[in-house]
Subunit: 307 residues, 2 copies
């Protein structure tokens, strides 16, 4: 089952001629979720071949413009495109008020509903759930209320070993019961334990998006064991004096967070416009956390299935 | 004195992978004026080497998102850039309320003032004036209240012919008086008429921006004699049935407006996303108004000085 993250934008607030502000798309089993929506996100989606109508929901980390100014044009365009199903927007307050005024002044006749779901940035809890996915809010340390998002794939259904189906002559009803995790009683009265009949096709995977934030050990602990971690890295280690006070992190702190979380892989972004050499920032992280890469605009990071 | 128009964006509402929505910069004597502000305008400015801090004022034609969603991120960025002088925004109501909301939620601590000036879209009048320029509002015919803008350079000061200064031995005070247009009385009592002493260095120039609008003979008359006319051309002549009812124009109507205005040159844009071949649209205009060009993104159109 597909599980990937595509980087649409990655720069911090000050615009550059080429880079776009924060926005990513998570694809889980061809269901698309937008993470932050910096200016230009609708065009970035189209450039990456992602039809905006495919978005299931939008998650906004905080109400700084470089993380949400692209949401409003996207809402209008989805109307032009004839969207009919609701758009779920998960964001801190007062996004509800902001959406109300946007709709009043610009989209009073939208053909679909925009549903705001308040994300309480002090709470670590499930904010969205469906058959395949839980999305948890992760309290962050920024200048304004901010939440990270932890995408946790649900444990896939157990598969029944086809050799065992033959061996024990299982019937459909028994196969279905085994998939549910039940032990199976054969006609002989013999009981076959479920774990002999079934196996987990692959381990449930996870992705965490932590931006914008100063270093937070607590946030790292809350995404323990994450497969792929995006951690903001606004500053180099040398510019540490700027980071914490502004609610941002350095390369060293991002790597520290990945280590503390026991993440399998780290990707970094939200670089200050003062930096041109992102590889140098990546290398600072690699000294502490070797499996680090730049979350480069346009790149797709795939989270592979593992037995 | 420089007088030019640079096209930052030119597409209609539906986004494409490459084109940007409506935005232009008028440069008159190195003073920059933004005409409409579609999404991404701040990045488009930087791409064209125009420092957003140089903008003297912003003129918004109407409150559809593809003409103003870029204004709000621009306002935020100007704050980050440390702007101190006011930003004048000329736009129809209720832009004032919209700006209030924006400032309350996103820019409550802006280091400069955003000054909204209401443009009454039913009135043909001067909305802005300074030493070199008058900007007139031109009522348009769109689905919402919309105004075009007519940039009229003021008649440059008369120059005094240096040969006549020698011939009549004019003193500084007399030269200054002659520049003001006065006749000069020599010591002999002889009066030299001003037009023998002075000449107009070049004719005052003008630019008109008419978007979005259905064909309007009245608007064309109001920009009579314009040097450069931008007229929206959302549809081809063949798709005429879509144009008027939606408050838009065809190629034929844009060319008709340029002819009626006696414009020297026509540039067209705001093409529907259904068209890929802009040259074909241009050629439709050229059948009626030969001096037509596509207002291509990134192009700068210079209005030359003429004696």
């Amino acid at each position: 089952m597909a599980f990937s993250v595509t980087i649409l934008g990655n720069s911090s607030a000050k615009p550059t001629p080429t880079a776009h502000p924060s926005a990513q798309v998570v694809n889980l089993n061809e269901q698309y979720y937008l993470l932050d929506a910096g200016e230009g996100v609708q065009q970035q989606l189209i450039r990456r071949g992602i039809n905006p109508l495919r978005l299931r929901a939008v998650f906004i980390s905080h109400l700084h413009g470089d993380h949400c100014f692209g949401l409003f044009p996207l809402i209008s365009t989805l109307g032009l495109m004839g969207k009919r199903t609701p758009l779920d927007v998960y964001a801190p307050a007062p996004m509800g008020e902001i959406l109300d005024y946007h709709l009043r002044y610009f989209d009073s006749e939208l053909p679909y509903e925009v549903k705001w779901h308040e994300v309480r940035t002090t709470e670590h809890r499930i904010v969205m759930e469906n058959n395949t996915l839980e999305v948890w809010s992760i309290p962050l340390r920024h200048r304004v209320p901010a939440a990270g998002y932890h995408f946790r794939e649900k444990q896939p259904e157990r598969n029944v070993d086809k050799f065992k189906i033959e061996k024990y002559g299982l019937k459909i009803a028994q196969i279905v019961a085994a998939k549910r995790g039940e032990d199976i009683t054969l006609e002989s009265g013999e009981v076959v334990p479920n774990d002999e009949l079934t196996y987990i096709p692959y381990k449930a995977r996870s992705y965490a998006y932590l931006s914008d934030t100063a270093y937070s050990a607590k946030a790292a602990e809350r995404v323990a064991g994450v497969d792929l971690l995006y951690h903001e890295t606004t500053y180099s280690a040398a510019d540490e004096q700027w980071a914490g006070g502004r609610g941002h992190s350095t390369t060293t702190e991002a790597a520290k967070a990945a280590t503390k979380a026991g993440a399998k892989r780290l990707i970094i972004g939200h670089f200050s416009s003062r930096y041109k050499d992102f590889e140098a920032l990546r290398d600072e992280c690699r000294e502490i956390f070797p499996n680090t890469d730049v979350a480069a605009e346009g790149e797709t990071f795939i989270i592979e299935e593992e037995r």
